[in-house]
Amino acid sequence: MTEKILEIKRLSKYFYLSRNRVLRAVDEVTLDVRKGETFGLVGESGCGKSTLGRTIKGIYKPTGGQVFFEGTDIATYNKEQLKRYMRFMQIIFQDPYSSLNPRMTVKELIAEGLEIHGMGTKKEREQKVFEVLEKVGLNPEHVTRFPHEFSGGQRQRLAIARALAVEPRFIICDEPISALDVSIQGQIVNLLKELQKTYGLTYLFIAHDLSMVKYISDRVGVMYMGRLVELADKKELFANPKHPYTQALLSSIPIPKPHLERQRREIPISGEIPSPLEQIAGCSFKTRCQYRTSRCDHMEKRLVDVGRGHLVMCTLYQN
C-alpha cells in the first residue's frame, strides 16, 4: 500500500457563536490521504468541506483531534517545523479575484513565498518565478503586470504558480474551478493533473461539482453536516454508493445527454439541510432519510468498512 502523506484523526472544528450556540463545522472527521493521489471531498454548501481544508492547512486551530503530516502530529511542531509545514502544504482558493493582492505585481506575488521561506538567492528566486510562470502556462514577460490585468482563468493559474513556487508536497484545492467558465475549467483541471505528474504532488480537491470530482479524483469522501459519511475509491463510490445521502446526491446530478436526462431516476431527498446549529442525536441525516429507524437516534459516529476500503457511516451497515 502506498505511503500515507496526511492522516486526520477525529478532527473537529467548532465555532462558539455564543454561550449556548455551537456550530459544529467539522465533527470528528477521520481520513487519510496517500502520497501522490487526488482525494476529492464533496458535499453541499455548509457541510464543512472548506473548514476541514482550512483546519488541515492550519488557518483554523482544531477544537479536537489530530492532523499527521508525513507521520508526525502537526500540533507537536515547533516554530521552524511549522513554517516548513506551511511551505509543504499549499492552498488554492475558489475566487482568484480576492485571493491575490491587487497591489502586488505577478513577480512580487510569486516571489513572496520564496522570500518568506528564504529560498535561494535573489537571482535564483527570479529564475524560479520565470520557471513556474512557464509551467502554469502564463507568459513570463508578464511579470510586471498586476492581477487585474488577467482573466479569471489566468488568475487561477497565477494562484497555482504562487503555490507551486515554494515546492510544496501537498496542495489543498478549495473549489479551484467553481468561479470559472466551463471552457476554462477543463484547462485548469488539465493543468493540475499535469503538475501532479511532473512534481508528484498530492491534492485534496474540494468541490461541489461532482462530475469534475469524479474526473480528477482517485478516492472521494462525502461530507454532510460536518461529518464524513462515506469514503471510497472513485469508481466504487460513483457506481455503488452506500449511504442514503450519497445515493440521493448522485441521483440529483443532471446529465448533459437528453435521452439519459429525461429518464434519470432521482431519489428524492425530502426537506432541506437542518440548521448547522441544531444538535441532532445520532445520525445527522436521519431527518431527511427514507430508511430512518429508531436505531438512527443512537448511531455511533463510526465509519464501517463494507469491503475494499469502502467506508460508510450509517446504521444500515452497522451491527
Binding site: D181, V182, G186, L210, S211, P254, I255, P258, E266
Partner: protein, 345 residues
C-alpha cells in the same frame, strides 16, 4: 413539443445592445434573433459575458440606460414591440403576462417585507380591486403550489428566515402569481446546491405542464437544461452561434463552439481518465471586436476567412449555425470537423 403549439409568442429581432464604459463601447449583444413559441421551453446557453442575460433583460426593459444603449432591434410580444412601450405600458405586461426570476433570490426579494405581502402586492398590482385579505389567501395557495410546507406560517415570515431553495420557490410563486404566458428564468439554480437545483428544475417542469407557460431558461450549465429544454440557443461573445432542437444540439452539434462546450464537461456516465478536451484560449474582449467570427481565434477548424469576415447563418431544418464551415467552399474543412466529431462520439 406538441405540434399544435407552433404559434410564436415572443420574437426578438436583430437586437443589438451596447454599454458605454470609460474604456469604450462594449458590444454586449450583436444582431441577436430568437423566438419563443407558445408552451415551449427555450434554453439560452453560454458562458459569462456572452450576452445571454443582457438580451433577455431587454425584454422586460431592465437594461440600465445609460450606460446601456439599445442600438437596434425589435422585441415583439404578440405583435407589439416592447422596446417602443413606455414605463406604464411595460409595467402592465411585466409581472402579469411576462415575469422573470433571477439567480440570487436574496437580492430579488424585499428584506423588509413579509413574504405574503410581497406576493399579495404583485397580485394587486395587476388585478385591481381585490382585497388584501383575499390576496394573502391566494399567496398561501401559491406557496403551496410551489411546494413550500406550512404556507400559512411562511406568509408571515421575512425572506431571511427562509433557505436559499425556499426563497427561489417564493420567487417562482411571485412570478406565477398572475399566470404569465412567459416565464424568464435567468440562471435560477446557479446559486443553489445540486439537490435543491433538481427540485427547482422539477418544479419549473411541473408548472410548465400544468399551466402551459412558455419558458426562457438562461444557463451556463448544459446538464441542467438537457431534460427540460425543447430548443436551445447557444451564444458566444454577443452572437447566436447555433440554434436547434435539444437532441440535435447535444448529439449532432454543428458549430465547433457547441461541440467544444459539450466536450469540456466530463460526463458522469463516463469512466474515462483521458485528458479533458478543452477549448484553447479565452473569450474575446467585447471592447475592440475584431472582424470575422468571434470564435475564430479559439477554433480548431478556423480558416483564413474566419478572421476576416463574419459568416452567414446557414439553415437546415430547425437548425441554424453561424459558421463558415457550412459555406460550399469549405466542404473539405467541414469533413475534418465531422470526422473529429465521429471520433468523439
Amino acid at each position: 413539443m406538441p405540434k399544435n403549439s407552433q404559434e410564436t409568442l415572443l420574437e426578438v429581432r436583430n437586437l443589438s445592445i451596447s454599454f458605454h464604459t470609460y474604456e469604450g463601447e462594449v458590444a454586449a449583444v450583436r444582431n441577436v434573433d430568437f423566438s419563443l413559441r407558445r408552451g415551449e421551453v427555450l434554453a439560452i446557453v453560454g458562458e459569462s459575458g456572452c450576452g445571454k442575460s443582457v438580451s433577455t433583460q431587454a425584454i422586460l426593459g431592465l437594461t440600465p440606460i445609460p450606460p446601456g444603449e439599445i442600438k437596434s432591434g425589435q422585441i415583439l410580444f404578440k405583435g407589439q414591440d416592447l422596446l417602443k412601450l413606455d414605463d406604464v405600458g411595460l409595467s402592465r405586461i411585466c409581472g402579469s403576462q411576462i415575469s422573470m426570476i433571477f439567480q440570487d433570490p436574496m437580492t430579488s426579494l424585499n428584506p423588509t417585507m413579509k413574504i405574503g405581502n410581497q406576493i399579495a402586492e404583485i397580485i394587486r398590482q395587476h388585478q385591481k380591486g381585490r382585497s388584501k385579505r383575499d390576496c394573502i389567501r391566494e399567496a398561501v395557495e401559491l406557496l403551496r403550489l410551489v411546494g413550500i410546507a406550512e404556507p400559512e406560517t411562511r406568509v408571515k415570515q421575512y425572506p431571511h428566515e427562509l433557505s436559499g431553495g425556499m426563497r427561489q420557490r417564493v420567487m417562482i410563486a411571485m412570478a406565477m402569481a398572475n399566470r404569465p404566458e412567459i416565464l424568464i428564468a435567468d440562471e435560477p439554480t446557479t446559486a443553489l446546491d445540486v439537490t435543491i437545483q433538481s427540485q427547482i428544475i422539477r418544479l419549473i417542469k411541473e408548472l410548465k405542464s400544468r399551466f402551459g407557460t412558455a419558458i426562457i431558461l438562461i444557463t451556463h450549465d448544459l446538464g441542467v437544461v438537457a431534460g427540460i429544454a425543447d430548443r436551445i440557443v447557444v451564444m458566444y461573445a454577443g452572437k447566436v452561434m447555433e440554434e436547434g432542437l435539444t437532441d440535435q444540439i447535444y448529439y449532432a452539434p454543428r458549430h465547433p463552439y457547441t461541440a467544444g462546450l459539450l466536450r469540456a464537461v466530463p460526463a458522469m456516465t463516463d469512466d474515462s481518465e483521458k485528458e479533458l478536451r478543452t477549448i484553447k484560449g479565452v473569450p474575446p474582449s467585447l471592447l475592440n471586436l475584431t472582424p470575422g467570427c468571434p470564435f475564430a481565434p479559439r477554433c480548431d477548424y478556423a480558416m483564413k476567412v474566419c478572421a476576416l469576415q463574419e459568416p452567414e447563418y446557414h439553415y437546415q431544418a430547425e437548425n441554424r449555425v453561424f459558421c463558415w464551415l457550412y459555406d460550399q467552399r469549405a466542404a473539405e474543412q467541414l469533413a475534418k470537423f465531422e470526422g473529429m466529431k465521429d471520433r468523439w462520439a
